[in-house]
């Protein structure tokens, strides 16, 4: 079997259990694949062969001894470099955390280790998760495997590109306004954000705490569901963690495939299917609507009039929370310290210089905007108003879910855009999150699955938003639709990538 790296995570787990392959073999296959492709692709900020191989060997010997192992033990995974890994450099793609080694694991990383998964490395992102293209990484560019002239989306661009380029079977991303779903859409993969509080935020470098959630990214719904179950746990270290039995997402995915769509009421959001969305994206979306109707689901159009304010409110809430969260990078206790070119260096001048050199421009822009929105005199007009808009958007959801079980929309208004195209236009970049932000505001579980190719043979994504706590319903619908859509996963950029690498 020459192309082990094309296997899905659940297939790998089956082969490991049947001892058709060893964890060492499969881990080496992915490490080789990364080694061959990543100079060009740029999905990883760090690959740790040594730890990956050591862990794989341990799992293998434990299996040989006949120990009872967790179901996914020995399967490789990649983790967004926004998430703390003990002993493994974690940078948030920022210079201010260059070479920083966390002294602890994020709770979700503990869960990954407890389940015997093999951590291949840390994936590229926009600095502190601020961006929708991964072009804001302080270290390197990450390309889209479907077309190497386009971006993979962001901020979890590296987590998406690595999965799409078969460098890992699945990965972990984080989503504040769409940072899992948008790159999943742009790279033709599955990406899910759970109900807020479903996966612990402990050990995830914070951007906007009331919106941030981690979640799985994979090439099929079942893999995402399996990883979701591993990442999710109640955690005393995160006061917003939910002590709630969500059920098994794996079970939801299996039942969705078996039971189909009959009797489901699915809502189409009026405000997210017209203006601002490209023709190709809408055509792909309408095909899904036809599939739903033809397979016994009931379609209802729902009105969410306040969604139009979500981008504006997001700018304020995200920037305000980010400016507070990033105040901790002061060059005192961890991270980089940069000294000013002055005779007398004081704590304050060091802090200012550290933050000037350590942060990229997008990060500074958001900190300054947040500082403004929270300052006396502006607070009511901006921060207070944005929080009220959040209430209105939640109200739209509540009304919609009185009529339907789940909502759908295109995930992103367009397909992947060219590298550099939106860098100088912050508003254009922010529009990427038009359809994804509302779910973060409402704390709803939401995911993107590929639903065909739109313009330039680039993938389009379908977003499913379920009510709070109904992650199960989301995976059920995603899995049923995945089967019907039958998306042909075939990134054309990979041929280019292999050629480039062979030269």
């Amino acid at each position: 079997m020459s192309e082990l790296y094309k296997l899905s995570a659940w297939e790998i787990a089956n082969k490991l259990r049947l001892r058709e392959i060893s964890s060492l073999e499969i881990t080496q296959a992915f490490l080789d694949r990364i080694n061959q492709t990543d100079d060009k692709l740029g999905a990883f900020l760090l690959v740790d062969d040594k730890i990956a191989i050591e862990t794989a060997k341990k799992i293998d010997s434990s299996r040989l001894k006949g120990d009872t192992l967790p179901k996914m033990a020995g399967v490789p995974i990649a983790i967004k470099d926004l998430i703390c890994t003990k002993g493994l450099v974690t940078t948030a793609a920022s210079k201010i955390l260059q070479n920083w080694v966390p002294p602890y694991d994020a709770t979700l990383v503990e869960n990954i280790k407890d389940n015997g998964l093999i951590i291949l490395g840390k994936t590229n992102l926009d600095e502190f998760a601020m961006g929708s293209s991964t072009e804001r990484s302080a270290y390197k560019l990450c390309l889209n495997p479907w077309d190497l002239n386009t971006v993979p989306g962001g901020s979890s661009g590296g987590s998406a590109a690595s999965v799409a380029a078969w460098q890992t079977p699945f990965s972990v991303g984080t989503d504040t306004g769409g940072s899992i779903r948008q790159p999943a859409s742009l790279t033709g993969i599955v990406g899910a954000k759970p109900t807020y509080g479903g996966i612990s935020r402990y050990g995830i470098i914070a951007m906007a705490s009331s919106l941030d959630q981690a979640g799985p990214m994979a090439r099929c719904v079942l893999d995402a569901a399996i990883l979701h179950d591993i990442l999710s746990s109640y955690d005393m270290q995160d006061s917003t963690s939910l002590n709630y039995d969500f059920g098994s997402m794996e079970q939801a995915a299996i039942e969705g495939t078996n039971q189909g769509l009959k009797g489901l009421k699915v809502g189409i959001i009026k405000q997210l299917t017209g203006e601002g969305f490209s023709k190709g994206i809408l055509a792909a979306f309408n095909k899904v609507v036809a599939l739903l109707v033809n397979n016994g689901a009931e379609i209802v159009e729902v009105d969410c009039p306040n969604f139009q304010y979500s981008i504006g409110a997001y700018q304020i809430l995200m920037a305000s929370e980010a400016s507070s969260n990033l105040a901790r990078y002061d060059g005192m206790r961890y991270g980089k310290r940069f000294l000013p070119d002055k005779q007398t260096v004081t704590a304050e001048s060091m802090m200012k210089t550290t933050r000037d050199i350590g942060f990229g421009f997008e990060v500074k822009r958001r900190i300054i905007l947040g500082t403004y929105a929270l300052s006396a005199g502006s607070y009511e007009a901006y921060y207070g108003a944005a929080q009220k808009v959040r209430t209105l958007i939640k109200g739209d959801f509540t009304r919609a879910y009185k009529q339907v079980d789940c909502l759908i929309s295109p995930t992103v208004p367009t397909v992947a855009f060219k590298i550099g195209e939106q860098l100088d236009d912050p508003m254009a970049m922010y529009m990427n999150d038009l359809a994804t932000i509302p779910a973060n505001f409402g704390g709803m579980p939401a995911m993107s699955i590929p639903n065909g190719l739109a313009a330039n043979n680039l993938p389009s994504g379908l977003q499913i938003i379920a009510p709070q706590f109904k992650d199960y319903n989301m995976y059920f619908l995603a899995s049923a639709l995945e089967k019907l859509i039958n998306f042909n996963f075939n990134p054309s950029g990979l041929t280019q990538l292999s050629k480039a690498v062979n030269l």
């Binding site: 109900t195 306040n306 304010y309 504006g312 304020i316 980089k336 000037d356 500082t371 007009a381």
Partner: protein
């Protein structure tokens, strides 16, 4: 309402951005300040409509899930060791963080 309206009319100026940078403790270059002044004006123009819909009878939402106070049992847990807590320090001495002088600010 008139006070809010006044706020919304206020444009970003170079001095204002410089003041915000001071509050945020970031040393910005002249170019960065000019660039930010322009961009922040565009961004805030796009969000000024928020005040129009955010009437006083709407309750603000600070958190997506309605949670009450979360308490845990008052039992001791193992914290980071001193060595671990200091492991990322840019400068340390005698098991303590070393900061630049805090007095005699310029």
């Amino acid at each position: 309402m008139s006070q809010i309206a006044n706020q919304r009319d206020s444009q970003f100026t170079v001095d204002k951005v410089r003041h915000l940078a001071e509050l945020a403790q970031i040393e910005l270059s002249g170019d960065e300040i000019i660039h930010l002044t322009k961009e922040l004006s565009i961004i805030t123009d796009s969000i000024n409509q928020l005040a129009d819909v955010a009437s006083s009878d709407i309750k603000p939402t600070s958190h997506p899930v309605d949670l009450c106070n979360v308490l845990r049992d008052d039992t001791s847990v193992k914290p980071l060791t001193q060595t671990e807590a200091l492991s990322g320090a840019p400068k340390k001495q005698d098991n303590m963080f070393v900061a630049p002088q805090i007095l005699n600010e310029e």
